[in-house]
Point group: none
Chain length 226, copies 2
DNA sequence: TGCATCCTTCGGTGAGCGTCGAAGTGTCGC
DNA sequence: GCGACACTTCGACGCTCACCGAAGGATGCA
């Protein structure tokens, strides 16, 4: 009893809303109009859907001029969407190409706006092992190492979102680094081309340079490069 | 990726199916009839729902004699249900006062018209442990003990609602006693002032008298009194 | 074999909701 | 200010789907 999952599930059950939500899974905030186009419905229809999602607490809205940007509210929503997607994809995996893409996503992908998958978990473990992270905070040594990499730790700390939360990864059943710091670090790794975006929507590939760098800097093991 | 989450979400979006799925979350395999009673629908309706769940790959069926047992298919389904439940339960808890109330509600509260929360689960477990309940029915000894307390067991049995169903509790992930008997028993406990209603809408407080009584009569342990 | 139990299929009914066009509100640029 | 734009609200239409009663297998027990 107590927690009625039906209403929340119903919000994800409509194809139009599902398309919007998966689009927002990228972590970016999208305007109502963009979401309408993306889902292939008229503006009124999209507005009605977004109102429901807002009311249900699945998204939050930021008004900016005459635009209204929507984004997922909280990492838990992203987790459910990811897990749901995995279940939905289960009977599929028909072509060889699809299953190869699935393996790539397990290896490394973006979750919201930070690194997830096996690579994300390995990075997180390595940072704790080396004493760069402890108790949800960055240690002095961690801050030095991250700063040398080009990560704006202070800026991340001032951000309005949680600083360095653990983000639970269902494919790995392990935590990886989320929040402002996770996003900032991932941004730097992409700039430095330790990571590059793959062809599939959220896929990430660890480059050879990245593999060496991650191993040297964060003691990450078992990373598949390229 | 690009997995269509809508169809799977739709399977969880119906209240009847959601009730069935959460009931199966216990891990046990339940017969179609049990699920029908649990969800409060007719056998044909339940059958239709189960067919959909089966087709959608959320449950699997095991035929055994004339019974057909259903259970969740794969741990991933359970994971989604759990995460969904966490989201669904989210919206509350803002002020300190609210969170204190939330703790009280976790301890004991009414669920519809019967006792839930830790106290409800403890009561249910105690009754089974002492052999007052078995297989969804009240034993002869149970009926004697309840009768001495002032519970009209016969009246509850004649009621038009289900007699003594297990009611799944989300905060505890365990069952407590629902139905006509659960309501009747809770009514008596309130009359006898073993329980009193708190200030928040559904809150219940176990009195010191109630703690002693529940422990002596039903072997309930770990009850916070007053 | 006969009967009860468990479950399913079939047919018909009703409610809920996603859809869009038209009109209304607020914001930016000239 | 006056259109242009982004978004929302309103009203009406249509379709899907959950629901039940009755009937049809399938299984177990005497």
């Amino acid at each position: 009893m107590e927690a009625d999952i039906a209403p929340v599930a119903a919000l994800m059950a409509d194809p139009t809303r599902a398309t919007m939500l998966t689009a927002l899974l990228s972590g970016r905030a999208l305007a109502a109009g963009e979401l309408a186009r993306l889902a292939g419905v008229s503006a009124p229809t999209a507005s009605a859907h977004l109102a429901k999602l807002l009311d249900g607490g699945l998204v939050e809205a930021v008004k900016q001029g005459r635009h209204r940007y929507y984004r997922l509210k909280g990492h838990e929503v992203a987790e459910v969407l990811e897990t749901l997607a995995r279940i939905s994809a289960r009977p599929a995996v028909r072509s060889l190409r699809q299953s190869s893409q699935a393996r790539q996503l397990e290896e490394a992908r973006t979750c919201y706006d930070h690194l997830a998958g096996r690579a994300g978990v390995a990075l997180f473990d390595g940072m704790r092992e080396r004493g760069y992270l402890a108790g949800g905070e960055v240690t002095a040594e961690g801050e030095r190492v991250l700063g040398r990499l080009g990560v704006d730790v202070e800026g991340a700390r001032r951000a309005r979102r949680r600083f360095a939360p653990e983000c639970l990864d269902w494919t790995e059943r392990r935590a990886h680094l989320g929040g402002a710091l996770g996003a900032a670090l991932t941004g730097v790794l992409l700039e430095e081309e330790w990571l590059v975006r793959g062809r599939a929507p959220r896929s990430i590939v660890v480059t050879e340079k990245g593999r060496r760098g991650l191993e040297a800097t964060f003691a990450c093991k078992e990373l598949t490069s390229h």
